[in-house]
Subunit: 251 residues, 2 copies
Protein backbone atom coordinates (compact mmCIF):
# COMPACT_ATOMS: atom_id res chain seq x y z
CA UNK A 1 0.00 0.00 0.00
CA UNK A 2 1.38 3.42 -0.92
CA UNK A 3 0.45 6.01 1.72
CA UNK A 4 0.30 9.63 0.53
CA UNK A 5 -0.14 12.57 2.94
CA UNK A 6 -1.70 15.67 1.35
CA UNK A 7 -0.22 18.33 3.59
CA UNK A 8 0.51 22.05 3.91
CA UNK A 9 0.01 24.10 7.08
CA UNK A 10 -1.11 27.07 4.92
CA UNK A 11 -4.86 27.22 4.87
CA UNK A 12 -7.12 26.99 1.87
CA UNK A 13 -4.57 25.76 -0.67
CA UNK A 14 -6.69 22.88 -1.95
CA UNK A 15 -5.64 19.97 0.29
CA UNK A 16 -9.18 18.62 0.69
CA UNK A 17 -10.14 19.25 -2.94
CA UNK A 18 -6.96 17.40 -4.02
CA UNK A 19 -7.36 14.46 -1.62
CA UNK A 20 -10.98 14.04 -2.75
CA UNK A 21 -10.61 14.27 -6.51
CA UNK A 22 -7.25 12.52 -6.80
CA UNK A 23 -8.67 9.73 -4.62
CA UNK A 24 -11.70 9.37 -6.90
CA UNK A 25 -9.58 9.01 -10.05
CA UNK A 26 -7.21 6.50 -8.46
CA UNK A 27 -10.25 4.61 -7.17
CA UNK A 28 -11.38 3.78 -10.71
CA UNK A 29 -8.71 1.11 -11.06
CA UNK A 30 -7.23 0.71 -7.56
CA UNK A 31 -8.47 0.15 -4.01
CA UNK A 32 -8.27 3.50 -2.24
CA UNK A 33 -8.64 4.55 1.40
CA UNK A 34 -9.32 8.25 1.95
CA UNK A 35 -8.52 9.48 5.46
CA UNK A 36 -9.98 12.72 6.84
CA UNK A 37 -7.71 13.96 9.65
CA UNK A 38 -9.27 17.41 9.97
CA UNK A 39 -11.73 18.23 12.77
CA UNK A 40 -13.50 20.49 10.23
CA UNK A 41 -14.54 17.30 8.37
CA UNK A 42 -14.51 19.01 4.97
CA UNK A 43 -13.50 15.81 3.13
CA UNK A 44 -16.14 13.80 5.00
CA UNK A 45 -18.76 16.39 3.94
CA UNK A 46 -17.52 16.48 0.35
CA UNK A 47 -17.93 12.69 0.19
CA UNK A 48 -21.59 13.18 1.09
CA UNK A 49 -21.64 12.09 4.74
CA UNK A 50 -23.19 13.76 7.80
CA UNK A 51 -22.23 13.10 11.41
CA UNK A 52 -25.13 10.68 11.92
CA UNK A 53 -23.74 8.38 9.18
CA UNK A 54 -20.62 7.77 11.22
CA UNK A 55 -19.98 4.71 13.34
CA UNK A 56 -16.51 5.73 14.37
CA UNK A 57 -13.92 8.19 13.09
CA UNK A 58 -10.19 8.79 12.74
CA UNK A 59 -10.25 9.95 16.38
CA UNK A 60 -11.24 6.54 17.80
CA UNK A 61 -8.98 4.69 15.37
CA UNK A 62 -5.94 6.79 16.35
CA UNK A 63 -6.92 6.49 19.99
CA UNK A 64 -6.99 2.72 19.60
CA UNK A 65 -10.58 2.27 20.79
CA UNK A 66 -11.82 1.20 17.34
CA UNK A 67 -10.28 -0.77 14.52
CA UNK A 68 -9.96 0.72 11.05
CA UNK A 69 -12.46 -1.76 9.53
CA UNK A 70 -15.12 -0.76 12.06
CA UNK A 71 -14.88 2.96 11.34
CA UNK A 72 -14.52 3.16 7.56
CA UNK A 73 -17.46 4.07 5.35
CA UNK A 74 -17.78 2.76 1.84
CA UNK A 75 -18.09 5.43 -0.87
CA UNK A 76 -18.30 3.33 -3.97
CA UNK A 77 -16.49 0.80 -6.13
CA UNK A 78 -13.28 0.31 -4.20
CA UNK A 79 -13.10 3.60 -2.35
CA UNK A 80 -13.44 3.76 1.44
CA UNK A 81 -13.34 6.77 3.75
CA UNK A 82 -12.08 6.96 7.33
CA UNK A 83 -14.15 9.99 8.37
CA UNK A 84 -13.21 12.83 10.69
CA UNK A 85 -15.13 14.00 13.74
CA UNK A 86 -14.98 17.13 15.87
CA UNK A 87 -13.12 15.20 18.57
CA UNK A 88 -10.02 15.54 16.39
CA UNK A 89 -9.87 19.17 17.59
CA UNK A 90 -8.68 17.89 20.98
CA UNK A 91 -6.54 15.03 19.65
CA UNK A 92 -3.28 16.91 20.23
CA UNK A 93 -3.92 17.21 23.96
CA UNK A 94 -5.83 13.94 24.32
CA UNK A 95 -3.02 11.86 22.85
CA UNK A 96 -0.13 13.99 24.16
CA UNK A 97 0.95 11.44 26.73
CA UNK A 98 0.26 8.26 24.75
CA UNK A 99 3.25 6.05 24.08
CA UNK A 100 4.26 6.43 20.43
CA UNK A 101 1.81 9.30 19.95
CA UNK A 102 3.23 10.09 16.49
CA UNK A 103 2.87 6.45 15.42
CA UNK A 104 -0.86 5.99 16.04
CA UNK A 105 -1.96 6.23 12.41
CA UNK A 106 0.86 4.05 11.12
CA UNK A 107 -0.13 1.37 13.66
CA UNK A 108 -3.77 1.61 12.64
CA UNK A 109 -2.88 1.15 8.96
CA UNK A 110 -0.62 -1.85 9.55
CA UNK A 111 -2.92 -4.52 8.07
CA UNK A 112 -4.93 -2.30 5.76
CA UNK A 113 -5.44 -3.94 2.37
CA UNK A 114 -5.64 -1.04 -0.06
CA UNK A 115 -3.45 0.01 -2.99
CA UNK A 116 -3.43 3.65 -1.82
CA UNK A 117 -4.18 5.58 1.35
CA UNK A 118 -4.65 9.35 0.77
CA UNK A 119 -4.57 11.43 3.96
CA UNK A 120 -6.21 14.88 4.08
CA UNK A 121 -4.33 16.90 6.73
CA UNK A 122 -5.54 19.93 8.69
CA UNK A 123 -3.80 23.30 8.16
CA UNK A 124 -1.34 22.84 11.00
CA UNK A 125 1.92 21.06 11.81
CA UNK A 126 0.61 19.55 15.02
CA UNK A 127 0.25 15.95 16.13
CA UNK A 128 -2.29 14.97 13.45
CA UNK A 129 -0.09 16.09 10.55
CA UNK A 130 2.93 14.50 12.23
CA UNK A 131 0.98 11.22 12.43
CA UNK A 132 0.24 11.51 8.71
CA UNK A 133 3.91 12.18 7.89
CA UNK A 134 5.01 9.26 10.09
CA UNK A 135 2.61 6.85 8.38
CA UNK A 136 3.29 8.12 4.86
CA UNK A 137 5.57 6.97 2.08
CA UNK A 138 5.25 10.26 0.23
CA UNK A 139 3.91 13.78 0.74
CA UNK A 140 1.96 15.72 -1.87
CA UNK A 141 2.18 19.43 -1.07
CA UNK A 142 -0.49 21.63 -2.72
CA UNK A 143 0.71 25.22 -3.04
CA UNK A 144 -1.15 28.35 -4.11
CA UNK A 145 1.16 30.53 -6.21
CA UNK A 146 0.85 33.63 -4.02
CA UNK A 147 3.12 35.50 -1.60
CA UNK A 148 3.12 33.14 1.39
CA UNK A 149 3.84 30.03 -0.70
CA UNK A 150 7.65 29.90 -0.55
CA UNK A 151 7.97 30.44 3.20
CA UNK A 152 5.13 27.95 3.75
CA UNK A 153 6.99 25.30 1.74
CA UNK A 154 10.15 25.80 3.77
CA UNK A 155 8.18 25.30 6.95
CA UNK A 156 6.57 22.01 5.94
CA UNK A 157 9.86 20.69 4.53
CA UNK A 158 11.49 21.52 7.87
CA UNK A 159 8.82 19.50 9.69
CA UNK A 160 9.29 16.63 7.23
CA UNK A 161 13.02 16.74 7.96
CA UNK A 162 12.31 16.31 11.67
CA UNK A 163 10.04 13.34 10.93
CA UNK A 164 12.65 11.77 8.62
CA UNK A 165 15.34 12.05 11.27
CA UNK A 166 13.27 10.88 14.21
CA UNK A 167 10.31 8.82 13.07
CA UNK A 168 10.13 7.82 9.41
CA UNK A 169 13.38 7.66 7.41
CA UNK A 170 11.69 6.61 4.17
CA UNK A 171 9.47 9.72 3.92
CA UNK A 172 9.95 11.74 0.72
CA UNK A 173 8.23 14.56 -1.11
CA UNK A 174 6.25 12.94 -3.91
CA UNK A 175 5.64 16.35 -5.44
CA UNK A 176 4.62 19.98 -5.12
CA UNK A 177 1.28 20.78 -6.78
CA UNK A 178 0.37 24.28 -7.97
CA UNK A 179 -3.29 25.00 -7.24
CA UNK A 180 -5.70 27.86 -8.09
CA UNK A 181 -3.38 28.56 -11.01
CA UNK A 182 -4.43 31.41 -13.28
CA UNK A 183 -1.89 32.02 -16.04
CA UNK A 184 -3.27 35.52 -16.60
CA UNK A 185 -2.17 36.65 -13.15
CA UNK A 186 1.41 37.87 -13.11
CA UNK A 187 1.56 37.09 -9.37
CA UNK A 188 0.83 33.40 -10.11
CA UNK A 189 3.35 33.29 -12.97
CA UNK A 190 6.08 34.98 -10.90
CA UNK A 191 5.60 32.80 -7.82
CA UNK A 192 5.35 29.66 -9.98
CA UNK A 193 8.63 30.58 -11.68
CA UNK A 194 10.21 31.09 -8.25
CA UNK A 195 8.97 27.66 -7.11
CA UNK A 196 10.26 26.04 -10.29
CA UNK A 197 13.71 27.61 -9.79
CA UNK A 198 13.88 26.55 -6.20
CA UNK A 199 12.27 23.10 -6.35
CA UNK A 200 12.75 22.04 -9.97
CA UNK A 201 11.55 18.53 -10.68
CA UNK A 202 9.64 18.27 -7.43
CA UNK A 203 6.97 20.52 -8.96
CA UNK A 204 4.33 18.48 -10.82
CA UNK A 205 4.04 19.33 -14.53
CA UNK A 206 0.27 19.40 -13.95
CA UNK A 207 -1.07 22.55 -12.33
CA UNK A 208 -4.67 22.67 -11.06
CA UNK A 209 -6.24 25.72 -12.64
CA UNK A 210 -8.54 28.10 -10.82
CA UNK A 211 -11.91 26.63 -11.81
CA UNK A 212 -15.16 27.49 -10.03
CA UNK A 213 -16.56 24.03 -10.88
CA UNK A 214 -14.15 22.64 -8.23
CA UNK A 215 -15.72 24.91 -5.60
CA UNK A 216 -19.28 24.10 -6.76
CA UNK A 217 -18.94 20.31 -6.89
CA UNK A 218 -19.03 19.72 -3.10
CA UNK A 219 -22.18 21.87 -2.75
CA UNK A 220 -23.73 19.32 -5.06
CA UNK A 221 -22.33 16.50 -2.90
CA UNK A 222 -20.24 15.40 -5.87
CA UNK A 223 -16.64 14.97 -6.93
CA UNK A 224 -15.58 16.97 -9.99
CA UNK A 225 -15.93 14.05 -12.43
CA UNK A 226 -19.57 13.39 -11.54
CA UNK A 227 -20.32 17.12 -11.36
CA UNK A 228 -18.72 18.41 -14.56
CA UNK A 229 -16.65 15.88 -16.43
CA UNK A 230 -15.42 18.27 -19.13
CA UNK A 231 -14.32 21.04 -16.78
CA UNK A 232 -10.73 22.19 -16.44
CA UNK A 233 -10.91 20.93 -12.84
CA UNK A 234 -11.73 17.40 -14.00
CA UNK A 235 -9.08 17.49 -16.73
CA UNK A 236 -6.43 18.73 -14.34
CA UNK A 237 -7.11 16.16 -11.61
CA UNK A 238 -7.17 13.34 -14.19
CA UNK A 239 -3.80 14.55 -15.47
CA UNK A 240 -2.50 14.80 -11.91
CA UNK A 241 -3.52 11.19 -11.26
CA UNK A 242 -1.52 9.99 -14.27
CA UNK A 243 1.55 11.93 -13.14
CA UNK A 244 1.04 10.69 -9.56
CA UNK A 245 1.02 7.04 -10.74
CA UNK A 246 4.22 7.54 -12.75
CA UNK A 247 6.00 9.06 -9.78
CA UNK A 248 4.77 6.38 -7.38
CA UNK A 249 6.03 3.63 -9.68
CA UNK A 250 9.45 5.30 -9.81
CA UNK A 251 9.78 5.18 -6.00
CA UNK B 1 -8.77 48.90 24.87
CA UNK B 2 -11.08 46.95 22.55
CA UNK B 3 -9.64 43.53 21.77
CA UNK B 4 -10.77 41.95 18.49
CA UNK B 5 -9.91 38.37 17.53
CA UNK B 6 -9.89 37.70 13.77
CA UNK B 7 -10.74 34.03 13.77
CA UNK B 8 -11.99 31.13 11.63
CA UNK B 9 -10.57 27.62 11.70
CA UNK B 10 -11.15 27.36 7.91
CA UNK B 11 -7.91 28.04 6.12
CA UNK B 12 -7.21 30.78 3.63
CA UNK B 13 -10.33 32.90 4.24
CA UNK B 14 -8.45 36.18 4.63
CA UNK B 15 -7.79 36.34 8.40
CA UNK B 16 -4.25 37.69 8.01
CA UNK B 17 -5.15 40.04 5.13
CA UNK B 18 -8.02 41.40 7.26
CA UNK B 19 -6.01 41.78 10.49
CA UNK B 20 -3.26 43.59 8.56
CA UNK B 21 -5.29 46.02 6.50
CA UNK B 22 -8.01 46.73 9.07
CA UNK B 23 -5.24 47.36 11.60
CA UNK B 24 -3.52 49.84 9.28
CA UNK B 25 -6.71 51.87 8.73
CA UNK B 26 -7.56 51.96 12.44
CA UNK B 27 -3.96 52.95 13.15
CA UNK B 28 -4.35 56.24 11.30
CA UNK B 29 -6.30 57.75 14.20
CA UNK B 30 -5.98 55.24 17.05
CA UNK B 31 -3.20 53.36 18.83
CA UNK B 32 -3.27 49.79 17.52
CA UNK B 33 -1.55 46.59 18.61
CA UNK B 34 -1.46 43.83 15.98
CA UNK B 35 -0.86 40.34 17.39
CA UNK B 36 0.38 37.47 15.20
CA UNK B 37 -0.62 34.20 16.89
CA UNK B 38 0.18 31.96 13.92
CA UNK B 39 3.41 29.92 13.78
CA UNK B 40 3.36 30.53 10.01
CA UNK B 41 4.11 34.22 10.78
CA UNK B 42 2.22 35.47 7.70
CA UNK B 43 1.18 38.73 9.42
CA UNK B 44 4.72 39.31 10.71
CA UNK B 45 6.01 38.82 7.12
CA UNK B 46 3.33 41.06 5.64
CA UNK B 47 4.39 43.81 8.07
CA UNK B 48 7.88 43.61 6.59
CA UNK B 49 9.76 41.76 9.34
CA UNK B 50 12.12 38.79 9.16
CA UNK B 51 13.01 36.46 12.03
CA UNK B 52 16.27 38.32 12.73
CA UNK B 53 14.31 41.54 13.46
CA UNK B 54 12.60 39.86 16.41
CA UNK B 55 13.62 40.32 20.02
CA UNK B 56 10.84 38.18 21.39
CA UNK B 57 7.51 36.90 20.10
CA UNK B 58 3.98 35.98 21.13
CA UNK B 59 5.40 32.63 22.29
CA UNK B 60 7.58 34.13 25.04
CA UNK B 61 4.90 36.64 26.02
CA UNK B 62 2.25 33.92 26.41
CA UNK B 63 4.77 31.73 28.19
CA UNK B 64 5.43 34.58 30.62
CA UNK B 65 9.18 34.76 30.00
CA UNK B 66 8.97 38.19 28.32
CA UNK B 67 6.77 41.19 28.84
CA UNK B 68 4.64 42.58 26.01
CA UNK B 69 6.66 45.84 25.83
CA UNK B 70 9.91 43.92 25.36
CA UNK B 71 8.63 41.86 22.43
CA UNK B 72 6.59 44.33 20.35
CA UNK B 73 8.00 45.88 17.20
CA UNK B 74 6.99 49.34 16.07
CA UNK B 75 5.54 49.49 12.56
CA UNK B 76 4.76 53.17 12.24
CA UNK B 77 2.75 56.04 13.66
CA UNK B 78 0.86 54.36 16.48
CA UNK B 79 0.87 50.78 15.23
CA UNK B 80 2.82 48.06 17.07
CA UNK B 81 3.16 44.37 16.24
CA UNK B 82 3.59 41.44 18.62
CA UNK B 83 5.26 39.09 16.13
CA UNK B 84 4.88 35.33 15.82
CA UNK B 85 7.67 32.77 15.82
CA UNK B 86 7.84 29.10 14.84
CA UNK B 87 7.80 28.13 18.51
CA UNK B 88 4.06 28.81 18.44
CA UNK B 89 3.74 25.47 16.60
CA UNK B 90 4.43 23.71 19.89
CA UNK B 91 2.55 26.14 22.14
CA UNK B 92 -0.42 23.81 22.57
CA UNK B 93 1.73 21.09 24.11
CA UNK B 94 4.23 23.42 25.79
CA UNK B 95 1.52 25.30 27.69
CA UNK B 96 -0.84 22.35 28.19
CA UNK B 97 -0.14 22.04 31.88
CA UNK B 98 0.26 25.74 32.74
CA UNK B 99 -2.21 27.10 35.26
CA UNK B 100 -4.79 29.20 33.43
CA UNK B 101 -3.43 28.10 30.05
CA UNK B 102 -6.36 29.74 28.20
CA UNK B 103 -5.78 33.02 30.05
CA UNK B 104 -2.17 33.65 29.07
CA UNK B 105 -2.86 36.29 26.41
CA UNK B 106 -5.46 38.11 28.52
CA UNK B 107 -2.93 38.31 31.36
CA UNK B 108 -0.22 39.60 29.01
CA UNK B 109 -2.54 42.35 27.71
CA UNK B 110 -3.65 43.51 31.17
CA UNK B 111 -1.75 46.81 31.23
CA UNK B 112 -1.45 47.35 27.49
CA UNK B 113 -2.19 50.97 26.57
CA UNK B 114 -3.67 50.79 23.09
CA UNK B 115 -7.09 51.70 21.71
CA UNK B 116 -7.34 48.43 19.77
CA UNK B 117 -5.66 45.02 19.82
CA UNK B 118 -6.28 42.98 16.64
CA UNK B 119 -5.36 39.29 16.94
CA UNK B 120 -4.57 37.21 13.84
CA UNK B 121 -5.45 33.59 14.69
CA UNK B 122 -4.14 30.40 13.09
CA UNK B 123 -6.58 28.14 11.16
CA UNK B 124 -7.39 25.94 14.14
CA UNK B 125 -9.52 25.92 17.30
CA UNK B 126 -6.63 24.92 19.54
CA UNK B 127 -5.11 26.64 22.55
CA UNK B 128 -3.88 29.72 20.66
CA UNK B 129 -7.30 30.57 19.23
CA UNK B 130 -8.89 29.84 22.62
CA UNK B 131 -6.42 32.31 24.19
CA UNK B 132 -7.48 34.91 21.61
CA UNK B 133 -11.18 34.29 22.31
CA UNK B 134 -10.58 34.47 26.09
CA UNK B 135 -8.74 37.80 25.78
CA UNK B 136 -11.15 39.30 23.25
CA UNK B 137 -14.14 41.60 23.57
CA UNK B 138 -15.35 40.74 20.06
CA UNK B 139 -14.67 38.27 17.25
CA UNK B 140 -14.52 39.21 13.58
CA UNK B 141 -15.11 36.10 11.48
CA UNK B 142 -13.95 36.32 7.84
CA UNK B 143 -15.87 33.87 5.65
CA UNK B 144 -15.37 32.90 2.03
CA UNK B 145 -18.73 32.45 0.35
CA UNK B 146 -18.13 28.86 -0.77
CA UNK B 147 -19.43 25.43 0.23
CA UNK B 148 -17.64 24.89 3.53
CA UNK B 149 -18.56 28.33 4.92
CA UNK B 150 -21.81 27.55 6.79
CA UNK B 151 -20.52 24.46 8.62
CA UNK B 152 -17.30 26.33 9.40
CA UNK B 153 -19.27 29.17 11.01
CA UNK B 154 -21.25 26.76 13.18
CA UNK B 155 -17.99 25.24 14.41
CA UNK B 156 -16.38 28.50 15.47
CA UNK B 157 -19.60 29.72 17.07
CA UNK B 158 -19.71 26.47 19.05
CA UNK B 159 -16.16 27.08 20.29
CA UNK B 160 -17.09 30.67 21.19
CA UNK B 161 -20.04 29.33 23.18
CA UNK B 162 -17.69 27.14 25.20
CA UNK B 163 -15.43 30.12 25.88
CA UNK B 164 -18.42 32.28 26.88
CA UNK B 165 -19.66 29.67 29.34
CA UNK B 166 -16.31 28.78 30.86
CA UNK B 167 -13.80 31.58 30.39
CA UNK B 168 -15.07 34.91 29.00
CA UNK B 169 -18.76 35.78 29.47
CA UNK B 170 -18.49 39.12 27.67
CA UNK B 171 -17.29 37.64 24.33
CA UNK B 172 -19.53 38.45 21.37
CA UNK B 173 -19.42 38.19 17.60
CA UNK B 174 -18.59 41.67 16.33
CA UNK B 175 -19.42 40.58 12.80
CA UNK B 176 -19.14 38.10 9.95
CA UNK B 177 -17.13 39.41 6.99
CA UNK B 178 -17.57 38.08 3.46
CA UNK B 179 -14.19 37.80 1.74
CA UNK B 180 -13.05 36.97 -1.83
CA UNK B 181 -16.51 38.07 -2.89
CA UNK B 182 -17.17 37.98 -6.63
CA UNK B 183 -20.72 39.01 -7.46
CA UNK B 184 -20.50 37.33 -10.87
CA UNK B 185 -20.15 33.88 -9.28
CA UNK B 186 -23.51 32.31 -8.54
CA UNK B 187 -21.83 30.16 -5.86
CA UNK B 188 -20.77 33.34 -3.98
CA UNK B 189 -24.22 34.93 -4.34
CA UNK B 190 -26.02 31.76 -3.20
CA UNK B 191 -23.80 31.15 -0.17
CA UNK B 192 -23.89 34.85 0.77
CA UNK B 193 -27.70 34.76 0.63
CA UNK B 194 -27.69 31.67 2.85
CA UNK B 195 -25.40 33.42 5.36
CA UNK B 196 -27.59 36.52 5.33
CA UNK B 197 -30.72 34.40 6.02
CA UNK B 198 -29.04 32.55 8.83
CA UNK B 199 -26.98 35.32 10.47
CA UNK B 200 -28.81 38.49 9.41
CA UNK B 201 -27.38 41.61 11.01
CA UNK B 202 -24.20 39.88 12.12
CA UNK B 203 -23.01 39.98 8.51
CA UNK B 204 -21.10 43.20 7.77
CA UNK B 205 -22.66 45.32 5.00
CA UNK B 206 -19.14 45.63 3.60
CA UNK B 207 -17.87 42.63 1.65
CA UNK B 208 -14.20 42.36 0.68
CA UNK B 209 -14.16 41.75 -3.04
CA UNK B 210 -11.82 39.32 -4.77
CA UNK B 211 -9.02 41.69 -5.75
CA UNK B 212 -5.57 40.51 -6.83
CA UNK B 213 -4.01 43.72 -5.44
CA UNK B 214 -4.67 42.30 -1.94
CA UNK B 215 -2.59 39.22 -2.82
CA UNK B 216 0.16 41.31 -4.45
CA UNK B 217 0.59 43.90 -1.68
CA UNK B 218 2.46 41.62 0.79
CA UNK B 219 4.92 40.55 -1.95
CA UNK B 220 5.78 44.23 -2.09
CA UNK B 221 6.08 44.33 1.69
CA UNK B 222 3.16 46.75 1.79
CA UNK B 223 -0.36 47.06 3.11
CA UNK B 224 -3.05 47.66 0.49
CA UNK B 225 -3.23 51.45 1.05
CA UNK B 226 0.47 51.99 0.40
CA UNK B 227 0.47 49.50 -2.47
CA UNK B 228 -2.60 50.56 -4.44
CA UNK B 229 -4.74 53.20 -2.75
CA UNK B 230 -7.48 53.24 -5.40
CA UNK B 231 -7.96 49.47 -5.59
CA UNK B 232 -11.20 47.75 -4.60
CA UNK B 233 -9.21 46.07 -1.83
CA UNK B 234 -8.26 49.45 -0.32
CA UNK B 235 -11.81 50.79 -0.71
CA UNK B 236 -13.33 47.71 0.89
CA UNK B 237 -10.99 47.65 3.92
CA UNK B 238 -11.52 51.39 4.48
CA UNK B 239 -15.28 50.80 4.38
CA UNK B 240 -14.89 47.87 6.76
CA UNK B 241 -12.96 50.05 9.22
CA UNK B 242 -15.82 52.58 9.30
CA UNK B 243 -18.39 49.85 9.91
CA UNK B 244 -16.09 48.26 12.52
CA UNK B 245 -15.87 51.56 14.45
CA UNK B 246 -19.67 52.00 14.42
CA UNK B 247 -20.20 48.49 15.75
CA UNK B 248 -17.52 48.85 18.43
CA UNK B 249 -19.11 52.09 19.70
CA UNK B 250 -22.50 50.36 19.95
CA UNK B 251 -21.04 47.68 22.27
N1 LIG C 1 -8.55 24.88 -8.26
C1 LIG C 1 -9.59 25.43 -7.60
N2 LIG C 1 -10.34 26.37 -8.22
C2 LIG C 1 -11.38 26.96 -7.59
N3 LIG C 1 -11.77 26.69 -6.32
C3 LIG C 1 -11.06 25.75 -5.65
C4 LIG C 1 -9.95 25.07 -6.25
N4 LIG C 1 -9.44 24.19 -5.34
C5 LIG C 1 -10.20 24.33 -4.22
N5 LIG C 1 -11.19 25.26 -4.41
C6 LIG C 1 -12.14 25.76 -3.40
O1 LIG C 1 -11.38 26.64 -2.55
C7 LIG C 1 -11.73 26.44 -1.16
C8 LIG C 1 -10.49 25.94 -0.39
O2 LIG C 1 -10.11 24.66 -0.86
P1 LIG C 1 -9.86 23.44 0.14
O3 LIG C 1 -10.89 23.43 1.22
O4 LIG C 1 -9.71 22.20 -0.69
O5 LIG C 1 -8.45 23.86 0.75
P2 LIG C 1 -7.74 23.24 2.04
O6 LIG C 1 -6.27 23.43 1.85
O7 LIG C 1 -8.21 21.84 2.27
O8 LIG C 1 -8.27 24.19 3.21
P3 LIG C 1 -8.00 23.98 4.81
O9 LIG C 1 -6.63 24.51 5.04
O10 LIG C 1 -9.08 24.78 5.48
O11 LIG C 1 -8.11 22.49 5.06
C9 LIG C 1 -12.88 25.44 -1.15
O12 LIG C 1 -14.11 26.17 -1.13
C10 LIG C 1 -12.71 24.69 -2.48
O13 LIG C 1 -13.94 24.18 -2.96
N1 LIG D 1 -10.01 39.66 -1.06
C1 LIG D 1 -8.94 39.05 -1.56
N2 LIG D 1 -8.73 39.01 -2.90
C2 LIG D 1 -7.67 38.37 -3.45
N3 LIG D 1 -6.71 37.74 -2.71
C3 LIG D 1 -6.85 37.75 -1.37
C4 LIG D 1 -7.95 38.42 -0.72
N4 LIG D 1 -7.80 38.25 0.62
C5 LIG D 1 -6.68 37.53 0.80
N5 LIG D 1 -6.09 37.23 -0.40
C6 LIG D 1 -4.91 36.36 -0.61
O1 LIG D 1 -5.38 35.02 -0.44
C7 LIG D 1 -4.43 34.24 0.31
C8 LIG D 1 -5.07 33.77 1.64
O2 LIG D 1 -5.35 34.90 2.45
P1 LIG D 1 -4.87 34.96 3.99
O3 LIG D 1 -3.48 34.42 4.14
O4 LIG D 1 -5.11 36.35 4.49
O5 LIG D 1 -5.92 33.96 4.66
P2 LIG D 1 -5.84 33.33 6.12
O6 LIG D 1 -7.24 33.03 6.54
O7 LIG D 1 -5.04 34.20 7.02
O8 LIG D 1 -5.04 31.96 5.85
P3 LIG D 1 -4.53 30.93 6.99
O9 LIG D 1 -5.76 30.11 7.34
O10 LIG D 1 -3.47 30.11 6.30
O11 LIG D 1 -4.03 31.74 8.15
C9 LIG D 1 -3.22 35.14 0.51
O12 LIG D 1 -2.29 34.88 -0.54
C10 LIG D 1 -3.80 36.55 0.39
O13 LIG D 1 -2.83 37.49 -0.06
MG1 LIG E 1 -9.05 20.97 4.02
MG1 LIG F 1 -3.36 33.71 8.21
Amino acid sequence: MYVCAVANQKGGVGKTTTAHNLGMVLGRKKKVLLIDLDAQSNLTDACGFVQSDLHGSAYEVLGGSKGLEDAVLSLERGIDLLPASRDLAVAELAFASKLGRENLLKKALKDAAYDFAIIDCPPSLGLLTVNALTAADGVLIPVQAEYYALAGLDLIRETMQGVIENLNPRLHTLGILLTFFDGRKSLNRDVAAGLQDRWGNLVFKTAIRDNVALAEAPSNGQNIFDYRRQSYGAQDYAALAREFMLRVRKQ
